[in-house]
Amino acid sequence: MRAVGATWEGLVRGIELLVRLDPGVLEVVWLTLRVCGQSTFFSVLVGVPLGAFLAFRRFLGRGLVISVVNTLMGIPPTVAGLWVSFLLWRSGPLGRLELIYTPTAIVIAQVVIAVPLVTGLSMAAFQQLPPKLPAQVLALGASPAQLFWTLLKEARLGLLAAVIAGFGGVVSEVGASMMVGGNILHHTRVLTTAIVMEVGRGNFAMAWALSFILLGLTFTVTAVLTVLQQGRRRYGGWP
C-alpha cells in the first residue's frame, strides 16, 4: 500500500514540480539534457564514421575490432566510469586537466559508453545496404564525401536506431555519472544520480517524481528521433 501511495504521490509531485518550474529540478533536468545531448552528439560524430569504416573497409584484424566493439556495446557504465576516473583523477595521466567531478567528465564517460553502441549499430545499418550500392553511387560521379552522405541517407532508419540506442544508453546510466561526476549539487547532479540519492535518503516521493520526469524526458527526445526516423517512410504496409 505504501509503495502505491508513494508512486501516486510521486507522479503528482513530478507534474507539480514541472508545472511550477521548480528551479532546483529544472537545473537538474537541464544539466541532464545538456550532458546527454553532448555525449550522444560526440558518440554519433565518432561512431557513425567508424561504423561506416568497419562496414566497408577490409583490413587485417577487422574481425577482432568488430568483436571488441560488440563486447563494449554491453560495457557496464560503472566500468566505463572507473576507467575514465582513473584517467581523470588528479594523480592520473590526464589529471592536470582538472576535469574530474565536472559535467565534462560525465560527457567523457558517457561517450565511452555510447560510442560502441553507436558504432556497432551503425555498422549493422550500413551492412544492410545492398553490397553493390556504393559502386553505383560512385558511378554517378560522387566524391568520397558525397558517397558517404548518400549512404548515410540510405541507411537513415538504422542510423537513427543507433542514435536512439546511444541516447538511451547515456540517459539511463548512473554508475559513470556518479563515479566521475560525484552528484554535486548545482554542478554535476543529473536525474539518475539525483534519484539514487533521494532513494538513499528515503525521499521516495521525490525519487518517483524525478523518475517520471526522466521518463518523460526520454520519451520526448526519443519521440522526436522516432518521427525523424519513421516520418516520410510510407510503405503500402504488410499485405
Binding site: K132, A139, G141, Q146, T150, K153
Partner: protein, 258 residues
C-alpha cells in the same frame, strides 16, 4: 565529341578464379560496341573495369588516350565523364525525380538547369508522370527506365550499359534502341553495351565483341556474329538451328543506320 577507351592486358581475379583476361580492346571515340556472350563470361566485370569502378588485377585502361592511374581524385574526375546503367540498377530511397537528379547534383548542377534536364529525360523515357513516385511504387520496366534516365541525363562522353533493355516491352525497346543510336551518333558519344539479344546488335552497335570465359573470342561487325557463336548449336547455320537467324529485315536496318 566522345572520348576513346582502350583496355590492354586486363586481368581480373575473383575468388582465386581468373574471370577476365582481355588482351586488347579498343573503343574509338564515338564508336558503339556491343558485348555478347554466355552467362558468367565476364561481361559485367569488363564493364565495371571500363567504367573505372573496379581496378583490374593486371593491365591498363586508357581513357581518352591516357593511362588511368586509379588515384582517388583523378578517378572521380574521369568517372564524371561517363555514365553507367547497371545490370541490377539500385535506385535510392527517394523520388524518381531525385534519383534522376542525383548525378547532376554530384556535379554541382542544380536549380532550373537541373530541373530542365531531368524533365527532358523523364519525358523522353515516358516516365514524367512518375516523377514523385518512390522506387517501390514502380513496375520493373518503369524502374529500368529510371535507371536509364539517371545515366542519360548526365549527357556523358562515354556511356556504358549492362543489359539496359531487359525489362522493357518489345515495341518500346525497339523505339529506344533507334532513339538511343540516333542520340549517341548525334553527339558522338562513345558507348559500350552488354546484351543477350542478337537482335539488338545490328540496331545499336557498330562493332561487336564476343566474350567467352573472360576472353574476347571474336570481334566483328554485328552482321558477322552468328547466333550460334557458342553453346550446343555452335557453328550451325540459321536454317539448321531452332532459332531463325538471320532475322529478315535486320540487315537492312543496320545498313540504313550507317
Amino acid at each position: 565529341m566522345g572520348v576513346g577507351l582502350r583496355a590492354e592486358r586486363i586481368k581480373v581475379i575473383k575468388g582465386r578464379v581468373q574471370v577476365l583476361a582481355v588482351d586488347e580492346l579498343e573503343i574509338a571515340s564515338g564508336e558503339i560496341w556491343g558485348i555478347i556472350g554466355p552467362n558468367g563470361a565476364g561481361k559485367s566485370t569488363l564493364l565495371h573495369v571500363l567504367s573505372l569502378l573496379e581496378r583490374p588485377d593486371e593491365g591498363t585502361v586508357y581513357f581518352d588516350g591516357r593511362p588511368v592511374n586509379w588515384r582517388r581524385r583523378e578517378i572521380m574526375e574521369l568517372r564524371r565523364q561517363l555514365a553507367v546503367v547497371f545490370q541490377e540498377p539500385l535506385l535510392l530511397n527517394t523520388t524518381v525525380y531525385q534519383n534522376v537528379a542525383l548525378g547532376l547534383r554530384f556535379r554541382g548542377i542544380k536549380g532550373p538547369e537541373a530541373g530542365r534536364r531531368v524533365q527532358k529525360w523523364l519525358e523522353i523515357l515516358g516516365i514524367a508522370h512518375l516523377a514523385l513516385r518512390k522506387p517501390w511504387e514502380l513496375s520493373g520496366g518503369e524502374a529500368r527506365r529510371v535507371s536509364l534516365a539517371r545515366a542519360l541525363v548526365l549527357e556523358p562522353q562515354v556511356l556504358l550499359l549492362d543489359e539496359p533493355f531487359v525489362a522493357l516491352d518489345t515495341p518500346t525497346r525497339a523505339a529506344l534502341l533507334v532513339e538511343l543510336r540516333r542520340l549517341l551518333k548525334g553527339r558522338g558519344i562513345t558507348a559500350l553495351f552488354v546484351t543477350h539479344d542478337f537482335m539488338e546488335l545490328p540496331l545499336l552497335a557498330d562493332r561487336v565483341a564476343v566474350l567467352c570465359d573472360g576472353r574476347i573470342v571474336e570481334t566483328g561487325r554485328p552482321r558477322d556474329i552468328p547466333w550460334s557463336s557458342w553453346g550446343p548449336y555452335r557453328g550451325q547455320t540459321g536454317e539448321e538451328s531452332p532459332y531463325p537467324w538471320p532475322w529478315p529485315g535486320v540487315w537492312t536496318r543496320d545498313e540504313g543506320a550507317k
